[in-house]
Each structure stands twice: as C-alpha cells, then as structure tokens.
C-alpha cells in the first residue's frame, strides 16, 4: 500500500479533519438545507446552542450560516440554553437544526 507522504498527512491534520472519539456523546445531526446527516460529538455539559453551532460549522461547506436557528429533538423545539444532559439527548439520538421561523 502506498504511504501517504508527510506533508499531505499534515495538511489533512492541520485542517482539523479529526474525527476523534472520546467520552463524547455521538449524535446524528441534521441541518435544514443540508444533503446529509452528520455525526456530532457533544459533551454532556455543552449547551444545545453550542451543539447546533457545531453542526452548522461542520456543514458549512454545503449550507450557508444562519444566525437564527431552532433545535428540534423528538419533534419538539428545545431551549438552546439547556445542556445536552438537561435536554435528555442520548447517544445516537437524532436532533435537527432548523431555520428559525420566529420573526
């Protein structure tokens, strides 16, 4: 098998393409406007808004940023100030980040 040369490997790593798994909570994230669901690694104490921003950043290659978004879990909008733990999100749950319709 061909070995990846150092500079190419470093280029990849320097762009933070690291799918590092730790004690995080893996979640299936779906951003409105996107074409694929993404794995989001959340922390228990992280706010829902932070998790939503993380998904938006990860999908930014395909979906333009929107400041006003809502997070939907099990069919209901959840308070973005809640932590992941408080909101009850568990490993391999689905959450959606949708464009805010509140004008």
């Amino acid at each position: 098998m061909e070995i990846m040369i150092g500079s190419e490997r470093n280029e990849l790593l320097s762009r933070s393409i690291r799918w590092k798994i730790s004690m995080s909570i893996p979640l299936y994230g779906f951003l409105e406007g996107d074409t694929v669901g993404l794995l989001v690694l959340a922390e228990e104490g992280q706010t829902i808004l932070d998790v939503a921003r993380k998904l938006q950043d990860a999908a930014s290659i395909r979906v333009a940023h929107r400041e006003k978004v809502d997070v939907v879990y099990q069919g209901k909008a959840i308070d973005p100030k809640l932590t992941v733990n408080q909101a009850g999100l568990q490993a391999l749950d689905r959450f959606d980040v949708i464009w805010s319709r509140n004008l």
Partner: protein, 492 residues
C-alpha cells in the same frame, strides 16, 4: 433423426422420480428456497429462449469476438484518453461496481444450477453462471490496460476488497442478493427485480449514454452484457409465477424488499452518471425522464401481468426521483476524498439544465452548489486547496442500505432512529426500516461505518480512515476534476 425442436425438450427435461433418497434431501428448503413444493409443481417450468449448449457457445463466441474487435479498433488507451473527463469518472464507478458484483452472480446462478427445482431451470442457471463469469472478466480485461495510466481504474478489481463506505454498502447488498441467498429468492430478486426491472433496460440507456459520449468500447461491452441478461433474466419469471401461485404474500414481500434495495444502488450509479458525469451536450435525457420512460412504467406493467401490487412505498420512489441522487452527489462531492473517482461541480449551464429537469427541489440543491462554489472562490483553485473545500465531520450511514443518510429533501431529511433489542439503529427511509424489521436477525449485528469508528474498529482520524480502512492513497482518492479551476468560477 429428431429435429432440433423435437430433441431439445428431451435434453432439457431430465428429472426422474427419486426412489432411494427423498426429494427434500436433494433439494433442502434452506438452500432451494421456500415455498418448498414437490417437483410436480415445478415440472412445467419453462422459459422462452430454450438454448442448447452448442447454441450458447456459438453465440457467446461471436459476442466475444465482437467485443474484442471493437476493443482493438477503438478501445486503446489513446481512444480512452480522448473521452470527456467527467465521463471517465462514470467509467470508474461502473468499473468498480460491476466486475466483482457480476462474479457474485456466478455464485448465485451456480446455486440455482444445483438447487433449482427443475432441470430446465438448472440448465438456464448454468448458462447464467457462465454469462456472469463473462461479465466479470470482460470489464477486468478492458479496464486493466488503463491502470498504468490512471491508478483509480485499479478499483475495478480492488473495490470489493476494501472497507470503503460504498464498498461496504455494495457488499451488504450483493452478499445478501447473490452470495448467501437460496435459489428461489436469488432468482426472483436477481433475475426478476434487478435484471428485468432495472439493469436489462438500464444497460440500454447506459449504452446510449456511452454512444453519446463517443465511448464505443463501453457501449459495446454494455450491449454485449445486456444480450446475456435479456436471456438469463427469463429464469426469474417462471420461478415467480410458481411462488405467486402458492404463496402470493411471500412473492409480494420479495418484490417489495428487493425493488427498494435495488433502487437504492441503481439510483446512485445511474442517476449520478446521467445527470452529472455525462457532458451536458451529450445527455440524451435526465435520469428522471429515463426512469419514467424506461423503468417504472415497464415494471408496473410486468407486476400487473403477475398479479402483483406495486410496492407500498411507490410514492416514495416517485418523490426520490426528483432529489435522492442529487443529495447523494452533492454530499459525495464534499466527501470526494473518501471515494476512488473524481467529481465535477455543475457549472451555470448544468445548473440551468438541472433546474429545468428537476424544478421541484432545485432551489434547495442550487443553494448547496452556490455554497460549494463560493468556497472555491474564496479559497482559490488548486490541488493544495482540495481539503479546504471538503467536509470535516463524519457523515452518517443507514443501518440497512449502508448508504449516506441523504434521503428526503434538504428541508426534511427522512432518517429515523429505532431502538431494537438494546441497540439503536438509524435508517435513511421508511422502506429501509421496514426491511430491517421484517428480518432483524439478518441485519441487526452489522455495523455501519460510523459505528465501526465509534467502537474503535475503524480509525477515527480521516487520514487513517482513508488510507488504512478505505485503502485509498493520495493518488487514488477522489478530487475535483479541475481542482476547482473552472472558467465560470470568476463570473458570479
């Protein structure tokens, strides 16, 4: 002396009544399939081609000579190098997906050649196995010469030997369809659903695309394969007719299950090739037009002839015609380094055409391409910038079809989570969930790529995932065909 037509039935109907063994010992249900019926129910099994071995060999010899003649005339490396670059990447997809998948068809047909319930069926399945072996070797032969020029063609052989995510999906499909299947389900799922329903006509369409793209080598290869398929696909009809007579509910289940599983792979291979990897001025039709004109109407008519209902999820298939392969292509473009072929960004003219052909959801897809385009504009073209216009988070996959969770629409993805026996599963669509729940024991222990990463079976860092697990290299992983250097990129 008997005439050919008098002699052939004698040579095809060879079964006798067993005295020293039981029939279910010769044809166990587990491998012959269900419903298990005595031979009296199968003895009238018949198909229309009725080919003798000698006729088979003579025909195949002529077809092989025709393929070789075309290869010698227009299939040399210098001919291939003149083809449009996007089309070359369609070739790479088909080269990888086709060759070894056909070899799994050898194994499935050989099971029919041994465990099919009538001698005429077994005779046809023997020819079917030989056909599929031919369909394995022809692409391996034709694409082999291209490996020295472009290492991505090496995936014609390598693909199924890797844990590349698309190879995982393809193996998940073909292992069940052909390698591990009993004779009845194999012949219904492969001959009736895949070949009669999809590939027999798809190959006609694909040959047309190849002709429009001036790829006469691929056109000849596909046409030659299609003539074999038209013959051995006939095995499925009398098998299905007998199952319909004795267990119509089971026949409907097999149809519903396998139409969906075939649709998933087919829509990606053919949809992407038709609407993105064929040059705009060489597209004879859109994928949706092709499906509606060649596949769906024809298939519904065939179902009607057998007294079968259209699958319960038919409206989902019709909806997906407008969007699924577009979502897959845009997603795959932004994860192109995870695949073994290169991608093109649809330019203004292509996007105008796509809007015209797919008005229902194109606004949402256009926004995605505008975002990708804007990233290239900001970063600037060049091979060194490939990963700056690339996804950075792990994409997710369906626990049934193993393909990306790219179903539904950009506004509303249809992925759904299921808790089953203490584990969580996610499916791209309702039909994938339904298939899982009909036979959970078959599918439940399989891990998709994400769960392999989470469990530590697969590397969690992209460079290692690409090289160690997907077996790609910097030379072979997918890139933008122009490294973002499009003439139209400067003009907004």
């Amino acid at each position: 002396m008997l005439s050919r037509d008098e002699w052939l039935p004698l040579a095809r109907k060879l079964d006798w009544d067993y005295s020293y063994v039981r029939e279910d010992e010769v044809f166990p249900e587990v491998i012959s399939g269900r419903p298990w019926l005595s031979h009296s129910e199968w003895k009238d099994w018949e198909e229309s081609f009725k080919t003798s071995y000698r006729e088979y060999v003579d025909n195949q010899y002529e077809k092989d000579m025709a393929v070789i003649a075309v290869r010698d005339a227009v299939g040399r490396l210098e001919n291939i190098q003149k083809l449009a670059v996007p089309w070359l990447n369609s070739l790479k997809i088909h080269a990888a997906a086709l060759a070894l998948a056909e070899f799994t068809g050898v194994i499935g047909n050989l099971r029919g050649a041994r465990f099919g319930r009538d001698s005429a069926w077994r005779t046809m399945a023997t020819f079917g196995a030989l056909d599929e072996y031919r369909h394995t070797q022809i692409p391996l032969l034709l694409f082999h010469q291209l490996v020295r020029w472009d290492a991505q063609f090496d995936w014609a052989h390598k693909f199924y030997h890797t844990n590349n995510w698309f190879a995982v999906a393809a193996r998940h499909f073909f292992d069940e369809l052909t390698l591990g299947q009993n004779a009845i389900e194999f012949h219904i799922a492969t001959n009736f659903v895949l070949e009669t329903g999809f590939t027999n006509l798809q190959f006609v369409g694909l040959a047309s695309l190849a002709r429009e793209s001036s790829d006469h080598m691929f056109e000849r290869m596909i046409t030659s394969i299609q003539t074999d398929e038209a013959r051995h696909a006939q095995i499925g009809h009398p098998v299905l007719a007998t199952v319909m007579k004795h267990d119509p509910e089971y026949a409907q289940y097999l149809l519903d299950k396998w139409f969906w599983r075939n649709w998933r792979l087919f829509s990606i291979l053919t949809g992407v090739s038709t609407d993105y990897l064929t040059a705009l001025d060489q597209r004879p039709h859109s994928f949706k037009e092709f499906m509606e004109e060649w596949i769906l109407d024809q298939f519904l008519r065939t179902l009607d002839e057998f007294g079968l209902k259209k699958p319960w999820y038919w409206n989902i298939v019709e909806d997906e015609l407008d969007i699924y392969h577009h979502m897959i292509y845009a997603s795959a473009y932004t994860y192109r380094a995870t695949l073994w072929f290169n991608f093109v960004v649809p330019g203004p003219a292509e996007r105008k055409w796509l809007r015209q052909k797919y008005p229902k959801h194109w606004d949402d897809m256009d926004a995605v391409w505008e975002q990708v385009t804007e990233r290239w504009r900001t970063i600037g073209p060049g091979a060194a910038n490939e990963f700056a216009v690339h996804g950075t988070a792990l994409p997710t996959f369906c626990d049934l079809c193993q393909l990306p969770l790219s179903a539904g629409t950009p506004r509303k993805n249809t992925a759904n989570v299921l808790a089953h026996d203490g584990r969580k599963y996610i499916f791209c669509s309702e039909p994938c969930r339904w298939i899982f729940l009909r036979e959970p024991e078959r599918y439940a222990s399989h891990k998709d790529v994400v769960k392999r990463v989470l469990s530590g079976e697969a590397p969690s860092q992209l460079p290692d995932l690409l090289t160690e697990y997907f077996r790609l290299t910097p030379e072979t992983w997918g890139k933008d065909v122009l490294n973002g250097n499009y003439d139209w990129l400067g003009a907004k």
